[in-house]
């Protein structure tokens, strides 16, 4: 038998063994048996040393090619076996990916609609240059009434359903503010007395906050929220008031424009005084804002009464301006559709989840006040 015949036979037996190797370990045994130090192919290669030059030149390439083919076959088989093993492993590693994942607290927490609307108000009025002023809930008779040109025994006082405290040691009867208007005088006084440069007029601020009236029924709660707005300088007039209210309501309700009607009325702290009516349409129980030919009252406004400016220590001959007030809860109900004011203060988790806002929903003018249109249905 020639070495050539021998090698052909050897190759086919090794290839058979490679194909038969069931796993990487068995394949390794085949490799050692063929290519190891004492392997059959290694032995065959060793025979080249004993050959004549001619014979070696003939057999050398044959034997080397045989070794290379076997090496490659083993590598290929190894890759196939590994792939099979991985595939078998993966098929055993399944999880039910439909199981629920943890809710993100960032999306399960809520901001109360009153807070959200206050943030919307701040954003809109910031764009018009209004600061945000605050004042105490417990007020003196002076700031709640007298400084606002509502003297003792004035019939307007009776409309306020005021919560009073018992008289204190000095005989003074404090009260819970019935409106946010006391913040007007307090803020102007503080501005006047401030040592800062540019103290005093001009003033331009809103004052949102809690207010109280001794009244409770279907549409009234003893505590509610108002926002006050005030501009005082040398030249602001009723035309500016009209524009400001129109611009605010359009921005707040996120519609291009909205008709308003200023209707003469009476508030002791403004002169002239006007109710603010907003264009709307009633469709069954639904109220659609900004269209139709009906009107709904949304707040009060007017030119700041000279007496109020004087109480704030401001020269009413030189300075003038406007003030307005609106109900925050009411604005929220109109925009977001809550049917019942009383539910605002009941802390029912179901209501808060439904009507509240996720914390990432931060009102801004660039991004829109509310995120209702971010995703389609």
């Amino acid at each position: 038998m020639t070495a050539q015949d021998n090698s052909t036979e050897l190759e086919s037996s090794i290839v058979q063994a490679i194909d038969a190797a069931a796993n990487v370990a068995a394949l390794e045994d085949v490799r050692v048996a063929a290519l190891g130090k004492k392997g059959s192919i290694s032995a065959l290669l060793k025979t080249l040393g004993g050959m004549s030059n001619e014979e070696r030149q003939e057999k050398g390439p044959v034997f080397n090619q045989l070794r290379d083919r076997i090496t490659q076959a083993i590598a290929d088989r190894k890759q196939a076996l590994e792939a099979e093993a991985l595939s078998a492993q993966l098929s055993n590693e399944t999880q039910d990916m439909t199981l629920p994942v943890e809710a993100d607290p960032l999306l399960s927490g809520r901001v109360h609609p009153v807070s959200q609307v206050m943030d919307e108000l701040s954003a809109i009025f910031a764009d018009m240059g209004f600061d945000v002023a605050e004042g105490p809930d417990i007020e003196s008779d002076y700031y709640n009434f007298t400084a606002l040109n509502i003297p003792e025994a004035h019939p307007a006082r009776q409309m306020h359903d005021t919560f009073y405290f018992h008289p204190n040691e000095e005989g003074e009867r404090l009260l819970l503010r019935t409106h946010t208007s006391p913040v007007q005088v307090r803020t102007m006084q503080a501005g006047n007395q401030s040592a800062e440069e540019g103290a005093g007029p001009p003033f331009r601020f809103i004052a949102p906050g809690r207010t109280y009236r001794c009244d409770s029924d279907q549409t009234h709660t003893p505590m509610f929220h108002q926002v006050e707005g005030l501009v005082v300088d040398e030249s602001t007039h009723m035309g500016h008031l009209k524009w400001t209210l129109q611009a605010f309501l359009a921005a707040f309700f996120e519609i291009d424009n909205i008709a308003i009607r200023l209707r003469p009325s009476y508030f002791p702290f403004t002169e002239p005084s006007m109710e603010i009516d907003m264009q709307c349409r009633r469709d069954g129980n639904q109220l659609i804002v900004g269209e139709g030919d009906d009107w709904m009252e949304i707040g009060g406004s007017g030119m700041v009464h000279p007496a109020v400016l004087q109480h704030a220590g401001i020269d009413s001959e030189k300075y003038q301006g406007f003030a307005f007030g609106m109900g925050i809860d009411r604005l929220a109900m109109l925009k977001y559709g809550m049917p019942d004011l009383r539910a605002f203060f009941d802390a029912d988790l179901r209501w808060l989840k439904h009507y509240g806002f996720v914390p990432l929903d931060v009102p801004s003018l660039s991004g829109g006040l509310s995120n209702k249109t971010l995703a389609g249905k």
């Binding site: 927490g109 240059g129 417990i138 009073y164 405290f165 809690r210 009244d215 009723m238 802390a347 509240g356």
Partner: protein, 794 residues
């Protein structure tokens, strides 16, 4: 204020439609609240004639009437004694709604006889109190005429809201004047012509004190009191007043016609002269409402020589009032100080049309006109002799005048108006205007609200029309946009969203709570409301937690046991304006998460509450590592499972922990319940850093080294002591110390625990050698052992 269209026409000559009048009223500040068309209530009622009657077979008092209507004849059962052939009255057909009771008329059988429709009484139509018989009409009304036409019920009623500054519009004439000024017609001349006096004396009239500066009275003798005429009754009914008798009805009519309250006395019940004076201590009287009022010296009364007749300007007395038997009547027309009437009325809780008008300000110079008008109407309707009028005090006072710069209209409104147009508006409203660079304006006596130039601007603009004021953009305030919120407002803003971002849900609860809740949270004296809306909302809250705990309980009761609520609001510290503190507080109850497949969720614990508090502070830039955990200070927390967070021990920034079991019991809550309170204003404003650039970031290329240590310490030693000691052992090298294990029990001595720390060393210049690492480890061990009194575990 209510009136009818025909009543308005008594004073206003106009061709304007009802709709035009209604729209204009609202636009000039007399807001229309309702318009009622009486014809609408009488739809389905018509004139019909009874053509035959026959007795009811089973009832003596009933008749079966055959009635002719426009539609034909029908039979109905009628119990009215006046039902008879030839009577024309008002027929209600099936389906009509009876105005008096709102019932829908249906086909009925009355004592076995079918009855088709109903002949109506005045009472059934809500037109009179006459129940005794059916309405009998003039036969000039054709059969089929709508009832509203036949009954003169075609006069629409208009109700307007009158603001407190417009007492002049509490009379129809004042409303007519405003409408005329606004271009809706002409104000008719006011002709009051009382009959001549018989020159006989009236009872003497006198005034004393400041409340009643003028009081007029006149006696009319020999009157025949009777029901007032139909036209007057119809108008009074239309505005919701019940006709009583002519004398009373006339005073009510003039009150609404002119805003001029009057009072009538039965002169035969008076003793001597009549006086307006302050009440004497101990006096009392029985008013028309049949209640007895104990008077004080602050009350002004009308009295005769025998005693008090009535509370001046508020309500007359029962004894001296007029009745159908009154023959001699004394009519009172006076003026009272608005504030005194308001105080007196409020003191006695009496609401009346007179008080309502006097406290808003009746026209003082209508005393005589009002009296004359009353005399004229009484004599017209009831007959009688007019005596001499007595007037005490002074009716005329110097009118209010003011200087007005016409440019003020443009300055306050932006409107540019013709001066003549402005003057015309003012004169139409009754003002006298003297032209000049500034105008000298005389204010009419019926406008007590006009005090200054702004009031004049209001008159001109409201009549000209506010809809004509052009909107004008507010100029920019600053050249560059800048934040409008203060630092503290921004902190609160970000805290709110940081807390909501931890899954907490924001609530808004009442600022007032029950006394029991308030006491439990240490409410200060004086924070009790004098007139709470209900007993459980009587005290200003000293903390937000009682409101939140009560809210948690309500949610638990509704079946939602896992609660995570927070609120940002004021705590009230003392009964002083400004003695309030903003708090961001929250309550968690039940589990940290709903049940889930990964394993049972953890119950809430004090650490969750502390994490909330730290997150709120961290959102404002307060790093948790800068805070110390101090022992609790508030009684409403579990003493062993709560604490206070502070940078400076004297100023707590937050409190947190489990709620005390006794507090839970008070609120009817089962645990675990944890809470936190953060006070945003304790986050002091830091010095503003220059610019926005961050400090340079030095990143090391050298790998950090981590070493674990476990110490056995007494079980009451705070972990914080070990962490601080370890961190302080080598401030340069140690970049982090973490507690990764705490346990008690197996292998440890009784009364001790094991705390394991992972310490991270960050080499700065070169990789640490084993020797260097061992040296730091020894320092850490020594420092922790010294601080904690424990020992390194082997």
């Amino acid at each position: 204020m209510k009136f009818t269209l025909s009543w308005l026409h008594e004073h206003l000559d106009t061709t304007a439609t009802l709709d035009a009048i209604v729209e204009k009223l609202t636009l000039i500040g007399l807001e229309v609240e309702a318009v009622e068309d009486p014809a609408a209530r009488l739809a389905g009622f018509e004139v019909a004639e009874i053509i035959a009657t026959e007795p009811h077979p089973d009832a003596d008092k009933l008749q079966i009437c055959t009635v002719q209507s426009a539609a034909g004849t029908q039979k109905l059962v009628c119990g009215a004694p006046n039902a008879r052939p030839g009577l024309r009255g008002i027929l209600a057909q099936q389906g009509a709604v009876i105005p008096a009771n709102g019932m829908v008329l249906a086909k009925a059988k009355i004592r076995g006889v079918e009855s088709n429709g109903m002949m109506c009484s005045g009472a059934e139509l809500d037109l009179s109190d006459d129940h005794d018989g059916i309405i009998e009409l003039d036969t000039t009304f054709d059969i089929g005429t709508p009832a509203a036409v036949a009954l003169g019920q075609t006069d629409p009623m208009i109700e307007i809201a009158i603001t407190p500054n417009r007492p002049d519009c509490l009379g129809v004439r004042g409303i007519a004047r405003d409408l005329a000024a606004a271009g809706l017609g002409t104000l008719k001349d006011d002709i009051v012509s009382p009959p001549a006096s018989n020159a006989q004396p009236s009872p003497a009239i006198s005034v004393s004190g400041d409340v009643c500066p003028v009081f007029a009275g006149v006696l009319i003798s020999g009157v025949k009191n009777q029901p007032s005429p139909d036209w007057m009754q119809q108008r009074l009914r239309a505005i919701g007043l019940k006709p009583i008798n002519a004398l009373v009805d006339i005073t009510n009519y003039i009150s609404y016609d002119r805003g001029r309250p009057l009072h009538v006395y039965d002169a035969d019940k008076l003793t001597g002269g009549v006086q307006a004076r302050q009440a004497k201590a101990g006096e009392s009287f029985v008013a028309l409402d049949e209640k007895t009022y104990e008077l004080t010296t602050d009350d002004c009364v009308i009295a005769d020589e025998a005693g008090v007749l009535g509370l001046a300007g508020i309500m007359g007395g029962l004894a001296s009032g007029s009745s159908l038997d009154t023959v001699n009547v004394l009519v009172e027309s006076a003026w009272f100080e608005p504030i005194a009437i308001a105080m007196s009325g409020r003191h006695h809780y009496i609401e009346s049309d007179a008080r309502y008008r006097f406290e808003r300000g009746v026209d003082r110079q209508s005393v005589t006109t009002g009296l004359n008008l009353a005399a004229q109407m009484i004599v017209d309707i009831c007959g009688g002799q007019l005596h001499e009028t007595n007037l005490a005090g002074q009716e005329q006072v110097a009118p209010m005048t003011l200087d007005f710069a016409p440019a003020k209209v443009n300055a306050l409104t932006g409107l540019t108006l013709d001066e003549k147009h402005m003057q015309q508006i003012l004169t139409d409203l009754g003002f006298a205007v003297e032209n000049g660079k500034t105008w000298k304006i005389t204010v009419p006596s019926w406008r007590p609200d006009i005090e200054g130039q702004a009031d004049i601007v209001e008159e001109i603009t409201r009549i000209h029309g506010l809809e004509n004021v052009p909107a004008q953009a507010l100029p920019m305030r600053h050249d560059v946009t800048r934040p409008t919120l203060t630092l503290e407002q921004r902190r609160v803003h970000i805290m709110r969203r940081a807390l909501a971002g931890r899954g907490l849900i924001e609530a808004v609860t009442w600022s007032f709570i029950s006394q029991a809740d308030a006491d439990l949270f240490g409410v200060a004296d004086g924070l009790e409301l004098a007139n709470p809306i209900s007993a459980d909302l009587s005290h200003m809250r000293p903390s937000l937690l009682p409101g939140l705990l009560a809210a948690a309980m309500r949610n638990v009761d509704r079946g939602f046991g896992d609660v995570a609520l927070f609120e940002i609001g004021q705590e009230f510290l003392a009964p002083t304006p400004g003695a309030q503190r903003l708090a961001a507080s929250g309550v968690r109850r039940g589990h940290q998460a709903p049940r889930r497949w990964q394993g049972a969720p953890q119950p809430v614990d004090g650490f969750a509450a502390r994490a909330d508090a730290e997150a709120a502070l961290a959102a404002c830039g307060v790093e948790a590592s800068s805070l110390q955990v101090l022992p609790p200070q508030s009684s409403w927390y579990h003493p062993g499972r709560s604490g206070v967070l502070a940078r400076n021990p004297k100023q707590p920034m937050a409190a947190f922990g489990e709620i005390h079991p006794a507090v839970l019991k008070h609120f009817g809550l089962s645990g675990p319940v944890v809470a936190f309170e953060v006070w945003p204003q304790t986050v002091a404003s830091g010095k503003a850093s220059k610019g926005h650039a961050r400090p340079p970031l030095n990143l090391s290329n050298l790998q950090p080294v981590r070493r674990d240590f476990a110490f056995e310490v007494a079980s009451d030693v705070a972990a914080d002591i070990l962490v601080r000691a370890a961190r302080g052992a080598d401030k340069k090298l140690i970049s982090d110390v973490r507690v990764f294990d705490v346990f008690q029990g197996a292998g440890l001595a009784e009364g001790s625990k094991s705390i394991a720390l992972e310490v991270t060393l960050q080499p700065i210049e070169a990789t640490l050698t084993d020797v260097e690492i061992d040296a730091v480890a020894s320092k850490i061990t020594a420092a922790v052992q010294k601080a904690s009194g424990g020992k390194l575990r082997g």
